[in-house]
Symmetry: none
Subunit: 198 residues, 4 copies
Amino acid sequence: MGGTMDDTKRQRRGNTRQRIQDVALELFAEQGYEKTSLREIAERLDVTKAALYYHFKTKEEILVSVYEDLTQPIVELIEWGRRQPQSLETKQEILRRYHDALVEAAPFFRFMQENQATVKELRIGELFRNRMLGMRDILIDPDAPLIDQVRCISAVFTMHAGMFTLNDLPGTDEEKRKAVLEVATTLVTEAHHGRHAS
Amino acid sequence: MGGTMDDTKRQRRGNTRQRIQDVALELFAEQGYEKTSLREIAERLDVTKAALYYHFKTKEEILVSVYEDLTQPIVELIEWGRRQPQSLETKQEILRRYHDALVEAAPFFRFMQENQATVKELRIGELFRNRMLGMRDILIDPDAPLIDQVRCISAVFTMHAGMFTLNDLPGTDEEKRKAVLEVATTLVTEAHHGRHAS
Amino acid sequence: MGGTMDDTKRQRRGNTRQRIQDVALELFAEQGYEKTSLREIAERLDVTKAALYYHFKTKEEILVSVYEDLTQPIVELIEWGRRQPQSLETKQEILRRYHDALVEAAPFFRFMQENQATVKELRIGELFRNRMLGMRDILIDPDAPLIDQVRCISAVFTMHAGMFTLNDLPGTDEEKRKAVLEVATTLVTEAHHGRHAS
Amino acid sequence: MGGTMDDTKRQRRGNTRQRIQDVALELFAEQGYEKTSLREIAERLDVTKAALYYHFKTKEEILVSVYEDLTQPIVELIEWGRRQPQSLETKQEILRRYHDALVEAAPFFRFMQENQATVKELRIGELFRNRMLGMRDILIDPDAPLIDQVRCISAVFTMHAGMFTLNDLPGTDEEKRKAVLEVATTLVTEAHHGRHAS
DNA sequence: CATGAATGAGAGTTCATTCAT
DNA sequence: AATGAATGAACTCTCATTCAT
């Protein structure tokens, strides 16, 4: 009794949920949400499709659960940001931390960027949108000139897109990430000083 | 034959191909490529699915044909850019023209942005990628410091994303577009001057 | 050209829709709606499940279409009944005609009787219910004593159930149907005369 | 241990089997047998599906057990009927008692009526059929004319269907039930007297 | 007395695509 | 220039059931 279960199976027990999330994110990021079927996820985990449904109510819920786990740091960052004075130093610190969060969960954010059309229709579309508005609020002064507001948004874009689109630039990943952060920081700094004269 | 055709039908004669492209782009942009079925396109045009196959060999080909029509101006822009001296004025003019091209075919570029995961796997993925590298070549000096190269790329991102994500900023569309172009231009200008010290 | 299609296939062309309805009703009546799968229907017709969906939007729609075809005579009977005087003769004629309609589409009405739980939740549940209320209106005098109203309803029940539950009674089907009609007629006649003293 | 069990839990102890039967019947009657899943039953009881399998071997067995509990009075009624003389008084008394039994377990009989297609295929199909034949034997004189036999069967139908289909008739439930019983009694009485000439 | 985890089978449905007419 | 009819493959999801603990 018990001897019928080999080591691999035993290892799996109790962490299937986590493994589903991992594999799902991996495939979602690689091929997109729609093109990833539950059959594929299940096969890669060597379980049946029905097993996925034991752990998650729908395909969408798998994604939501991944989302919630991986964006937690950003929620906390925004909360932290709200409690700080709206100084330049704060904003720079926010960018730095945001950048770290993006790097930490890079595959997930790559997924969000490449699957906007899909995400829009899902529950996480709204969730993410709200989170982004939160970021905006702590970076942007709503009374600043339009151009400075655009600068701040551009800073966030730059970090998001810079995460995944600089492959054919020279330099190590480390260097490129540093450069991206610097450009973003400059944009926010200029916005903060209102230095938008040509 | 002929007498049974009402005005609407007659109007359609000969331009069905164009109408398919229009409706397809509209739906692709609105719902995404994967979530738009040929049935839907056909229904909206009041023809059968088989009719689509008379005009296009596959679903993908519809998209390719739209792509080719709408990115023609950018091909020309890149060719023009290559023939110019790599001066600051040239770069600024390129941005201006690129910006116009984006505005002109906004739904298409919104589609490209929101469906990256899908597009990656399709033929237009590579086509678009190459086109983007062309843009890079005429904007970026490959000998410039990394940070200046990033600035240029950030300028392009800013225009792309700025097209679709500034809804809740104050001001008219016109004003916002102007601000976006200005931020992009500043980035490229700073990159050109190598002015990256704070 | 054309030579690749054998006779059986050719025969099928153009009447697949009808054949789907026939087979569906047959199976629905035999096994119940829920226990009959589209796979089963398709297999018996030697087409694919997808072919069913070319002709009908959903499983439920197959049933609805059968319903509409087969209950048409009853719709007409009710309309006819409404235009007649509410005499005893009219009522007796209605019962006779209703009885004929039941016999004519016996498998369908057997289905309706045996699948009430299912039908309740489907669109035809309401449709059928309204049709039955129509019957009631032309048979029952709303001012009559309750017991006479019940007699009329009992008459209708008797015909419905008598259609399918008299197998182990002696006599031919013909004789049994005649007896059923007679019992129903007696009930309505008694109700009409108000002869309900014990 | 035991200290961790709150009152609701304690109350449940030992009567889970009964509670399963209750909830199952409730749902079966409401939605039908097929549309009621074990998941649903388990959720409503706040136990797991596996718990159901501790008490019953299959879904069908839950239904069988309910069936056996609730039709016991009818078994006894039939046995009683068999021992009585086949007088009119006996038959009338049988109808009265049968009527009471139906009212007593109304949801169950409603279930049997609305799920005939399902029940036919299950073990209780045959059980119920035999029980009904038992009723027939004590109500019907096999030597009587066909029409009188039909009358008796009609009487039983009337009671069954009258239980659930008189909602939109005027009067209280009590009054309607009384009327139904009276109509049934009249039918059996007429059958007994062979009074089938108009 | 019951749960947690999983399975195998199958459901209804949708899709891009084909082809004879 | 287009239709009507159909297919094959895939999809998400649900179900009754099992079994070690």
